[in-house]
Subunit: 154 residues, 2 copies
Amino acid sequence: MPHGTVKSPTFMDLALREAVAAGERGEVPIGAVIVKGTTIVGAAGNRTREFNDPTAHAEILAIREACGNLKQERLDSCDLYVTLEPCTMCAAAISFARIRRLYFAADDPKGGAVVSGVRFYAGRTCHHVPDVYAGIGEAEAARLLRSFFAERRG
Amino acid sequence: MPHGTVKSPTFMDLALREAVAAGERGEVPIGAVIVKGTTIVGAAGNRTREFNDPTAHAEILAIREACGNLKQERLDSCDLYVTLEPCTMCAAAISFARIRRLYFAADDPKGGAVVSGVRFYAGRTCHHVPDVYAGIGEAEAARLLRSFFAERRG
């Protein structure tokens, strides 16, 4: 058997897996992973339907999980990977949690709040701004969302 | 004994009681109540410290409680009373929950997102706008917050 190059999944790959799993549960396919150093401290997909909870976005669930695991209210040295540009609620929650770096895949012109909409991190009422990195895994994240909504319309 | 006029508490009075209770637990004294008709379906004060959860604002906890009680993701015919202008996270959550009317007491120029800051409900990425009523119980709500922060500085 030839030696292959087995690429280990990136953190965004893992967020995409959470998104796929969310879609398989009938939720909008968005996933998030929170990392401290090289350790995953929170990972979630959307569960708004399952939980009957409009706040149960992937990022909020991952933040709550990470804070619970680390037993702290602030995630200063943690980075968050999410497959879609965070909405207004999640962008603010990410700031409140003092997340260090935010990596997101696809932009969301309709509901995003980082490079779209209220651009929360650029405003006066935002008191902690994460470093933002956009576009990693964008094609896959966008494809997932498109096929989910196409199927629902179909 | 003379007949007195016993005024029953308003829903904002009940939100203020939640705020007082939060302050007594060492949390920032903010409280929220969600009402459907004349029935309280959710009531909470801040618990960010107790829960080690930066998303555990009064409004978020009340929304989650109300959705849990009503077993639905949307609170279409429900009204929310909160003692401080909602922050960016909570303003968005209130919109996602399809809250009908939002009553808030004191403005929050530093962190609010309704009449302050990003003014979320006025933007293009807000897809449900509640009716907003500001100022009811303002003096009491502001006094609570001032004395809480004065004590902490003292």
